[in-house]
Amino acid sequence: MRAIGMILAGGNSRRIKELTKNRAVAALPIVGNFRSIDFALSSMTNSHVQNVAVFTQYNSRSLTEHLSSSKWWDFGRKQGGLTIFTPSITDDNNLWFRGTADAMYQNLSFLKKSHEPYVIIASGDGIYKIDYGKVLEYHIEKQADITVVVKEMEEGFRSERYGCVKMDNDNRIIDFEEKPIITSSNTVSCGIYILRRRHLIELIEKCAEEDRHDFVSDILVRYRDVKAIYGYKLDTYWSNIASLEDYYRTNMDFLKKEVRYFFMIDYPTIYTKVDDLPPAKINTGSNIRNSMIASGSIINGTVEDSLVFKKTFIGSNCYIKNSIILNDVYIADNSHLENCIVESHSTIRSDYYHKCEQGIDVVIEAGDRFIM
């Protein structure tokens, strides 16, 4: 592959509420055993991008723990590999990353000393599977300065959470609005960009000179009429975890067969850190319908239309409906949970009742746990 990869995983999102209190958005658990960054990393490795940098800042510990070994994504290479950039104090700089462009500027030497002609920039909180080779081909064919991967959204999407683009018939981007309240376009940027490495270095250095720090507003939006920026339409699944509702809906999407098969069964699949867990154990008294059960879990109750993440225990006579139970949760007997996300490592006492009437509640309970 003639490109290096950069994954922007530094941001925080207040709209995800409690779930990002102790973890980065890119480290949010997804569908049992995965973390959201696995999708960006797996797309990179499946497209044979060999040299990948991850920029992280907010709650970076959760992410660096997950990335402690690069071998799970096949990045344990002599050529290239996986590098994690957190803000560091240097002779020239003692600031945090002030924005995405600033993060790249503070690590400009990584860009400068690479020799691949192109750079793929991706966000760490998108759920997608993409062949970057095809995007690069498209980029070269269009003779684009910058190519932005875009996705057409359904009517009524929340435009204020996305970068919205307008394209002409040739897919050249003629307008780019960042998080507009109202927009006439239903095409959004997926936060995935390809451009020439030297070009990126120029743009970033110019930004820094002008004391600008954000890649989207200070480069894409600002240069939209000057540069040839093209949109590459992604026609497969894409979801961005920008809010608690997004997080819930994205996880629940995996109960649909086409989504599940697209990510989990159709080659190439998504990789993650391997946890060496025993098989899921489903005991007498269980009744599971339309649900996913991750390994290491022990189920004794009813689970409907829900996701049960790894190493979770669900006691007898429990009723779990439309809920996401994160990893290492213990739910004692006779509990009822409906429309909830149960935070990882929670311990829920017996006879607990929680039904969220509107939307989704995050349940965090730190009861005493008695180990058998």
Binding site: G32, N33, D276, P279, A280, K281, S291, M292, A294, F309
Partner: protein
């Protein structure tokens, strides 16, 4: 100079012919177990959990699966700069080129490998057993007793003792007598095939017996050491240990894992069993499905009803199918509307729609009643079973078949239908 206090030699070359078609294309240690493991995962995980980071795996019979499974040892953290796991097949030499002709002969042929680590002790293991054991505790025992050889032994019911190699010990656990499958056993301590040798003793014994045909630990090396009055001690092990040598014991050991609190607990944090796995998506249970008393590997899709079974990963159970008391290994696909009872379905087998397995009465198998018994139906790896057929109890089917292979759409109990044998 490289120095490892104790290295392990894992004998993984045997066929395990009593597992029937399960070992047609793989050695017994590579046979899947407990949903997502292979038998060899247990001794390998025991090694790394016991602090042994140098393991030689001796392969001979159908080694491909073992080789790809072990690789460079990443799943067990046995990818090391010095030591780690090494697969040791028989090899050609200037004189005396030979296959591994016996357990001790295989070790003898790899003296050079062992010597390169300059060990004080060598642990001999076999790749056929399901257990968790801290070999370091056994080594401490060996050192404390000042033993030349230590055998791991476990108490078995007295009435079954005549099926085992039995040791008789004195009060301090020094072995005074060996009895191989004795008619009238004078002890119930059975040897588990796990030995710690002080390296000098092992090397001397192997060299001295080099010309013995089919050189075997139980038959030759241990008796040789005993005759020389070396101190041989018995280390008693009292936890779960299962020999999965026959199809029925293999089926039973799998079924024990689905008990509410299984005797062999895979869910403990501190003694993990490692295995090779790449993708780890959760298992999906469909809307009209029902699952109980079952353990399930990863990325399986269950759309039918499953009771009291052990399922691997990447399995598919179609709508309206019912599975009871069965072992379904990785990658097997079961069609719709099937009824499957007490079956062992090996990896990547494809069962058509409306197939019935385990019908009729228990009739002795027509070719190998000693292997295919207890009412089990065994379906070999990558077999294809056409739609609508029924297969009786104590039958074995292996190979790709079409409806025309089944007269009247049924295979009577106790039948053998094996095609192809080894793949070309």
């Amino acid at each position: 100079m490289v120095k490892k206090e104790m290295i392990a030699m894992l004998l993984a070359g045997g066929q395990g012919s009593r597992l029937g078609v399960l070992t047609t294309r793989m050695a017994k240690p590579a046979v899947p177990f407990g949903g997502r493991y292979r038998i060899i995962d247990f001794p390998l995980s025991n090694c790394i959990n016991s602090g042994i980071d140098t393991v030689g795996v001796l392969t001979q019979y159908q080694p491909l699966r073992l080789n790809t499974h072990i690789g460079i040892g990443i799943p067990w953290d046995l990818d090391r700069n010095v030591g780690g796991v090494t697969v040791l097949p028989p090899f050609e030499r200037n004189i005396n080129t030979d296959w591994y002709t016996g357990t001790a002969n295989a070790i003898y042929q790899n003296i050079e490998y062992m010597e390169s680590f300059n060990p004080d002790y060598v642990l001999i293991l076999s790749g056929d057993h399901i257990y968790k054991m801290d070999y370091e505790v056994m080594l401490d025992f060996h050192k404390k007793k000042g033993a030349a050889v230590t055998l791991a032994v476990m108490p078995v019911p007295m009435e079954e003792a005549s099926r085992f190699g039995i040791v008789v010990t004195n009060g301090s656990r020094l072995i005074t007598e060996f009895q191989e499958k004795p008619e009238n056993p004078s002890s119930n301590l059975a040897s588990m095939g796990i030995y710690i040798f002080s390296w000098k003793i092992l090397k001397e014994a192997l060299m001295a017996n080099a010309d013995q045909p089919n050189l075997d630990f139980g038959k030759h090396v241990i008796p040789y050491c005993h005759e020389k009055n070396e101190k041989i001690y018995a280390y008693e092990f009292n936890s779960y240990w299962k020999d999965v040598g026959t199809l029925h014991s293999y089926w039973e050991a799998n079924m024990e894992l689905i008990d509410i609190i299984p005797e062999f607990n895979l869910y403990e944090e501190y003694w993990k069993i490692y295995t090779k796995s790449q993708a780890v998506p959760p298992t999906y249970v469909g809307n009209d499905a029902y699952v109980e008393r079952t353990i399930v590997g990863e990325r399986t899709g269950i759309y039918g009803r499953v009771y009291a079974s052990v399922m691997g990963g990447d399995v598919l159970v179609g709508e309206g199918s019912e599975i009871r008391d069965s072992i379904i290994m990785n990658g097997a696909h079961i069609g719709r509307g099937c009824y499957i009872e007490k079956a062992i379905i090996a990896e990547d087998a494809v069962i058509g729609d409306n197939v019935r397995l385990g019908t009729g009465d228990e009739v002795d198998n027509d070719t190998r009643p000693d292997i295919y018994n207890h009412g089990l139906v065994t379906i070999g790896e990558r077999s294809v079973i056409p739609d609508g057929v029924s297969i009786g109890k104590n039958s074995v089917v292996s190979g790709e078949f079409t409806a025309s292979d089944f007269e009247g759409g049924a295979l009577p109990p106790g039948s053998t239908l094996i095609r192809g044998g080894e793949r070309r």
